[in-house]
């Protein structure tokens, strides 16, 4: 565990305009580390979708990106409402987002499927009324 590099972010749940700031910063950090562009793109898209989800569904939370020698692990932790039916949430096109969120270009029901698509492994640990923790791994 000692040889990992950690980037930690507080995701502000109040402000849709600033959503994605952490992902932009992670993209910059990974570029500076000289990682392959395809890896950087996958990490930043998965994290960006996660960040947007935290803002529109869970009133923000914490995001951590841990860079190891052989993998990158993204952890998104929120105290939101939890996901009632994970299988349904994973279905492309299914969304509980409001019309307001849709009018902003999101809420197409592609967030979680996209996060899975761009990562090698995704674990969802959720409890209704308590929160959700999503752990995504991208192998290097």
């Amino acid at each position: 565990m000692s040889d990992k590099l950690n980037f930690h972010f507080d995701v502000d749940g109040e402000n849709f305009v600033s959503a994605g700031q952490a992902s932009v910063q992670v993209k910059k950090n990974l570029r500076e580390l000289g990682l392959p562009p395809e890896v950087i793109r996958r990490v930043s898209i998965a994290m960006y979708e996660g960040e947007i989800n935290m803002v529109i569904h869970a009133n923000g939370g914490f995001a951590d990106v841990d860079v190891y020698e052989d993998k990158i692990v993204i952890t998104l932790d929120d105290k939101g409402p939890g996901i009632k039916d994970i299988a349904l949430a994973m279905q492309e096109g299914y969304s509980t987002a409001s019309d307001q969120v849709r009018s902003l270009g999101f809420g197409a029901g592609m967030g979680l499927p996209n996060m899975k698509r761009y990562t090698d492994d995704m674990q969802i640990d959720t409890r209704v009324g308590v929160g959700t923790k999503i752990t995504m791994t991208i192998r290097l």
Binding site: V17, I45, Y48, I52, E92, G105, G107, A108, G111, N114
Partner: protein, 116 residues
Amino acid sequence: MKIREIKELLDAEVVCGEDALETDVHSACGSDMMSDVLAYVKDQAVLLTGLVNSQVIRTAAMMDMVCVVFVRSKVPTPEMIELAEESSIALLASGKRMYEACGTLYYHGLGGAKHE
């Protein structure tokens, strides 16, 4: 196609990124739904959209795009311009509607995604 040609074909105004006009781009996509851009776009360098908020610029940045064209006379906010400048993304604004703008670029040789 160079970004300058996109500007000319769409009769667009350069909002920022004047120095990127000679950049060559090889494909584009058009969407107002950023979730779909993140899901389906692969290597497109240009995004045409009628959506105006900061997430448009962040989505383009995530996808390594170099140019965003706002259609239907939409005008990006100062905050969006600042974000675009930070990510070296050129912003153009055109009065054309989405269908016409995409069609014009496609007709002149700017393709879409390569289907897998």
